[in-house]
Symmetry: C2
Subunit: 198 residues, 2 copies
């Protein structure tokens, strides 16, 4: 029978990137200095895992049936940006001035893991594109092998419904130094160079 | 009014070493893949911050009035090891074969922060040494300026009560390379070298 302190340390290990040593540090820190904060975390966490579900429109996390972005009247309904995860959606929302809507796959096509179009809700996405409101499908899956395969599939889906598919630009990051950019990125960036116009 | 998800991300920041980005990753990770684990963490955490207090004998964390180490009949009562934090106590317990008892200061002398002998419970420690059971006070405070000052104070306290004070050995860590050891440690280690006997 383990003590409550041991149970707490073990429970912290459910968090990403938290091993035994960090979990121990977290438990001690909360007990030594942050009891009120710890109590608040426990309460919000307990509420969140029960109350936060998925938006019926975009599949992002949402407390309500439809999330506040999808429910907003001020977003452009003719642009739909497809991302793999809620974190990707948040990153785009924070970094860009994009005013369209999103669609969160909550994954990527990965047949070996049993993740096909149905698991990503692509049937619902297809139906939505068929409605005719969306004119551009901005595909923002990650530039990995699986992300690219997913992007290819999505582009086909869009064309079938008469929607223009587009893809983010990939290349050397701004502020990056060519010397330290990985080969694949540099090669891709070199191959897709564009003419400098006046 | 922030959403529950935003509140959850904010709440995770109470943990040590967790900034905005890690907090976000934790929230998404729990919601995406670890709802049961998150629920368990919330429950154990809520219970721990309320039920875990301090042992009346050694001041370490304990669910009961007296912790299981202090309550154990198989520990040597003539040795008392003083450490700064519960984490230090755990480290010694796990690494060594020490069978004596502990005293956890829950801090170190730091007059500027208003932490004096009373805040560290040194009056109770003194009274305990006066009982005459303890014969050796093993001082295992950290080798920092404040830890050294605390060690000095504790050694005096021990001598006043006729108890032998001792201090951990400090020097080059085993397996360490001289080249990479910091100057202070190397200098101390050089100055406190000992004769090699047959």
């Amino acid at each position: 029978m383990s003590t409550l302190l041991e149970q707490l340390i073990e429970a912290f290990r459910v968090l990403p990137g938290v091993g035994g040593k960090s979990a121990q540090r977290m438990a001690y820190h909360v007990l030594e200095r942050e009891r009120a904060g710890g109590q608040h975390l426990a309460q919000v966490l307990a509420e969140a895992v029960v109350r936060i579900g998925h938006c019926a429109r975009c599949r992002d996390f949402s407390e309500s049936e439809v999330c506040h972005v999808c429910a907003s009247a001020s977003r452009d309904v003719d642009q739909l940006c497809v991302v793999e995860t809620p974190a990707d959606r948040l990153a785009i929302e924070q970094a860009t001035g994009y005013r369209g809507l999103y669609y969160v796959l909550q994954g990527r096509l990965s047949p070996l893991d049993g993740i096909g179009p149905r698991e990503l809700g692509l049937d619902r996405l297809s139906a939505r594109l068929a409605e005719g409101e969306v004119r551009e499908l901005i595909i923002a899956t990650n530039p990995t092998v699986e992300g690219e395969a997913t992007a290819h599939y999505l582009a086909q889906l869009a064309r079938q419904q008469g929607v223009t598919p587009s893809r983010l630009a990939y290349g050397v990051p701004l502020g990056g130094e060519l010397e330290y950019v990985d080969r694949g990125t540099l090669s891709h960036s070199f191959g897709t160079r564009s003419e400098i116009r006046e």
